[in-house]
Amino acid sequence: MPVTDVNSYVTEFERFDEAHGASSPSWLRAMRQKAMTRFTALGFPTTRQEEWRFTNVAPIAERVFRLSVDGGEGLRKEHLKPYRFATSDVLEIVFVNGRFAPQLSAVDDLPAGVSVRHLAGVLSHDPGRVAAHLARHADFENQPFAALNTAFLSDGAFIEIAPNAVIGPPVHIIFVSVSAGEVSHPRVLVLAGRNSQVRLVESYVGLSLSRTATFTNAVTEIVLDDGAVVDHCRVQRETAADAFHISTTQLRLAHSSAFTSHAFTFGGAIVRNDVNVLLAGEGGDCTLNGLYLADGSRLVDTHTFIDHARAHCGSHELYKGILDGRARAVFNGKILVRPDAQKTDAKQTNKTLLLSDDAQINTKPQLEIFANDVKCTHGATVGQLSADALFYVQSRGIDRRAAIQMLIRAFAADITGRVKIDPLREHLDRVLLEALAIGGEADPADAGSHDGHGETEVRT
């Protein structure tokens, strides 16, 4: 492992620890130090490691990213308008480069049963609230990016839902990255009390105008107590061609709890999303849906890991990708069914639509099943737009380009259609439409010798 890549981070950490260490709770300081030690030992992953075989993070490792200092003083609420799905009936907390931005947030009028706070404040005044769970779930011992995030843990979102509370408005956490050449480590901790219900949305937005690369290294931990029901949506819109986005979403589900997540990835130079779910109690149910778009020479890598540690749990994964240009995608879905996890019901599906000859997907299920009374299915399809379907649509009077758009949107609507927050779903449909209009012009079929294409000009 090339230790040289980590040097700048080590130096930065020493400065950071000196500045913040003494004023942090001792358990946090110790945890950060341990995380940094682990990061230094592990180094950035290389393609020689199985988990990173198709995703080369050298472009991230080779650059020096300064720890972000810009708190986004120049930002106004209007700048965020394109990224907000509702202006009322939503609880918004905004972070700029990982730091809480109170002037852009709206968390004053909270309904009973939910608290939406920033970690820096909690760690300063009330660290006991998070000590049991913060950084206890996302593995920073073996995962370098989670370790790096944990080493620099100082701020982020802390959402706590009281037992039996059913929260009406969705909670929207917006992480804005505005600085070029810098790294930020967005952090989220959600504790959903027994039988509570909440809807969460995480948005990652890039507003950097400069052409220098940005690096967002996010970790989200969501802990569901018995019977809790959490509906989660993750929207990644750091779409600059030079944006690097690495994320770890760690879930722990207790007895009879239910978690549904819809992840939308709209680009970035290298995007790697790890979603790890521990089904720690009987009767837990987890649904992971995802849609990723990539064109140009982007790379989107999704790794999921579902650990069926108890019996009678269900997991359902549906990930779809739309690739154009020379984009590459990776999907790796690991499912572990432990020996006592009888009556497990696990399903995993990955579907990819290739709009160009050079787009590529590496898709792999990894099933390790040690119980004998289980149901586990997995499947993957990769293909282009159906020529038959395209002709059928055209034969009804719809021009070829509109027909292509219609079919691509239909493919994507399978995922957006599952988002239950109505204004969010409509917002995503619009964002998707825009994203596809830019990327979806490529005609998937061969030029060949067919009669004209496109517009209504009459040729006689």
Binding site: S395, R400, R459
Partner: protein
């Protein structure tokens, strides 16, 4: 309305149409019959603009305009409709949305105002009754999960909404039971008018009892070898395609 002259077409390196001559006047119903492999569906496909067929010789004009130079969507907007032999499923594309988009594309082309959702639904409801279509079907993805008969009925339903001037029915009767057949036929007949024409491509005479043709043509090995009135269909039914072979001194595949 439609004038086909010496049309030759191939798929890959196989010559399928080997010189088709056919004139379809406005208001006429023509049946195209023939044994399997004779080129019936190829003819329908070439007229609709399927890209796998390459026209190597001949011409086809639609109201005097070069049909073969038009993209498939243009032909549809000009008023040509193909009822597919194997209607395609479009997962994720809502039936109502699809039809409205198609109808408005045709209307825009004709310089007519587009229909809004309400007017569209009113117009569509009428057609659904005619074809005994469950209203719930409108909200389902196009053809997804439909039985064979339902798919064929959906083709005729689309036709009833789009009101084409030239309808080409490609083996619409295959896979239909007698009740479904009657419903489909009544849908087709409801559109029959002095300003519309229909080409019915079929292997069996059965459908032609309900959609009575003005002319019947027999296709064999890519050519029309015999033409006649509606009684020709009955004769064929009785005597089989082999009879044509003997009559014409040809090597027909039965």
């Amino acid at each position: 309305m439609l004038d086909i002259a010496n049309l030759h077409a191939r798929v890959g390196d196989r010559e399928i149409l080997q010189g088709i001559d056919l004139k379809v006047g406005t208001g006429e119903v023509h049946a195209i019959m023939g044994p399997n492999g004779s080129g019936k569906s190829t003819l329908a496909g070439v007229l609709a603009g399927r890209t796998e067929y390459l026209v190597t010789e001949g011409s086809a004009t639609f109201d005097g305009r070069d049909l073969l130079a038009m993209a498939p969507e243009e032909r549809a907007r000009e008023g040509l409709f193909l009822a597919f032999q194997y209607p395609v499923e479009l997962p994720g594309v809502n039936n109502a949305y699809f039809l409205k988009a198609a109808l408005n594309a045709v209307r825009r082309h004709r310089g007519e105002p587009e229909l809004d959702a309400m007017d569209f639904m009113a117009m569509v409801r009428e057609r659904m009754k005619l074809l005994d279509i469950d209203p719930a079907m409108l909200n389902r993805p196009v053809n997804e999960g439909f039985s064979g008969g339902e798919k064929k009925r959906n083709e005729i339903f689309q036709m009833a909404v789009l009101e084409p001037r030239l309808a080409i029915l490609d083996e619409t009767d295959s896979g239909l039971d007698i009740d479904a057949l009657k419903i489909v036929a009544s849908g087709v007949n409801a559109l029959r008018s002095p300003v519309r024409s229909t080409i019915v491509v079929t292997h069996y005479q059965r459908l032609l009892t309900y959609i009575v043709p003005d002319y019947v043509h027999v296709l064999s090995e890519g050519r029309i070898v015999k033409s006649g009135g509606k009684d020709l269909a009955l004769e064929l039914e009785e005597k089989g395609y082999g009879w044509i072979e003997q009559e014409e001194g040809l090597g027909l595949k039965a």
